[in-house]
Symmetry: C2
Subunit: 344 residues, 2 copies
Amino acid sequence: MPLYAVVLAGGRGTRFWPLSRRVRPKQCLSLDGGPTLIQRTVARLAPLVPPERVLVVTGPDMVDAVRAQLPGIPEENLLVEPAPRNTAPVVAWTALEVERRGGGTLLVLPSDHAVADEARFRDTLAEAAAVAATGGLVTLGIVPTRAETGFGWIEPGAYEGTSAPVVRFVEKPPQAVADALFAGGRHLWNAGMFVWRHDVVLDAVARHLPRTAEALAALRAGAGLAETWTRFDATSVDYGILEHHDAIRVVPADFGWSDVGSWPALAEVLPDRGWGSGVAEAVVAEGAGANLVHAPGKLVALLNVKELIVVDTPDVLLVTRREDAQSVKNLLDAVERAYPGRYS
Amino acid sequence: MPLYAVVLAGGRGTRFWPLSRRVRPKQCLSLDGGPTLIQRTVARLAPLVPPERVLVVTGPDMVDAVRAQLPGIPEENLLVEPAPRNTAPVVAWTALEVERRGGGTLLVLPSDHAVADEARFRDTLAEAAAVAATGGLVTLGIVPTRAETGFGWIEPGAYEGTSAPVVRFVEKPPQAVADALFAGGRHLWNAGMFVWRHDVVLDAVARHLPRTAEALAALRAGAGLAETWTRFDATSVDYGILEHHDAIRVVPADFGWSDVGSWPALAEVLPDRGWGSGVAEAVVAEGAGANLVHAPGKLVALLNVKELIVVDTPDVLLVTRREDAQSVKNLLDAVERAYPGRYS
């Protein structure tokens, strides 16, 4: 069966504000001065999945930015979801799209994550596709590197070859639980990367999300997406399908993954240059360390400052501390109240 | 005798880098979002000295910037010193220029200081001019507000009316001396503001700086400034003239003066807006205080940062701490070594 990639590019993340904006979400950003996250996502798939089998799901606000960044992707592969309805509708709809194209195995992937070892990434996906060919729903399970409370965890059963049945999904755990899961050495992170045959996932949709299956039937019968979209169950693939399904398998993945979920997470994947890490035309620093700087095109002069986040854009300058990065969203809320729509 | 203002705009200060540059020195900057320091200097003189009697002394690098900022000053009043040779040559040369214009009393003033009470500033200068009319060299003595070690101090003798003879100039003192001078309540700051008749200061030059007097004679005889300039004594008016002269008088001055000598000194003269002070299109802040921000045209978002200096220019972004402002010059030296001429 041919492999299709489904790149999920509907995210409206605010955690990279002021760099990310409504019309320029995280996946469309260059966080390291090179290609954008979505460009890297498609490029690293290329040896495994050619552009004509890469489907990109995005929103009406962002499709222009996505199109501009991915000139190699055929126009008909840009799938515009009429409104955000979580991931289960996207999974069902993209399976139908692959069915329409003659069928295949779908690699459902975020558009805004980082992968250090791209060859290993492709090898892992190919293994997962081989597992999925036998008829299960397959999720990748990231081999954890810390007791992270911000991700869901996966408990695998007994391995057969490269995969194991999923015994249990663990929602984002409290720290003590995360500590135990990490110490146990068996659990994996749920990174939202899935592999399945179009017919297998459509069968699962029919069993667990009957309203969504009806909406799919309407689409097959020629109904328009816009009027059908509201009939899809607005739930996540995890809650709507995977947690109810009995044939989920996990393939461990260890390819230097990061969800690049925040400025500090970005700092983790960029090289430390003494003063910290980030993007600038040049940096001259004395007594500086552990800063994250994003100021493309500028000389950044840092004197005796540590653990700051400094993000310079044409109309907004953010200065905060690394430990406060998660509160930038509150600051953005204040900005939005004071200047509705102007800086968001 | 008519009053002439001599505005000294030759300074090449680096303490406001990256805002100040070789071709845009401190006096040509807007530090509060309004007119530049030199524009304010000329504007606050206007009720006392009309533009046609304002002489502006500047350097070849800066004359274009000065001219652009002072469209009301006649071209022949822009006096371009061929090279920096300290203040004594400027004092002698400008006295000669006023002699050529028919004679008058000179108000010699920095171009880059701040004055809170402009009416009182003019009143003080008018008083000083009245004192100078009787034949002394007059210096303004700022009523001190702190035990400052960065300025020279002036010891006045017994007052007669609004002025007193200068008993002694005290060079920049160590802290213990400054503490004693401030506690004593009699000493004043030397702010480099002088008032004298052209003929009186030319007599003083003839007595104390004979080489300079010869150079002036050459200028009177038609020699060009460029070839004559190197024959002027390269010394300050304080060391070259005032310390040797026996008829120096001081007029106390208390008009909310600041030399705006550094980013922290600027913060002292700007209103505190909770997060700190400075210039921006807008500021949204949480948990921020005592910062100095200069980012015209931008929204500045500050989250839990205190006592920082953040200066954003089109090509350079400086981030440091208020307590380290005096070391920015070292950082600029490092920038100059790494990128000669590019950012200075």
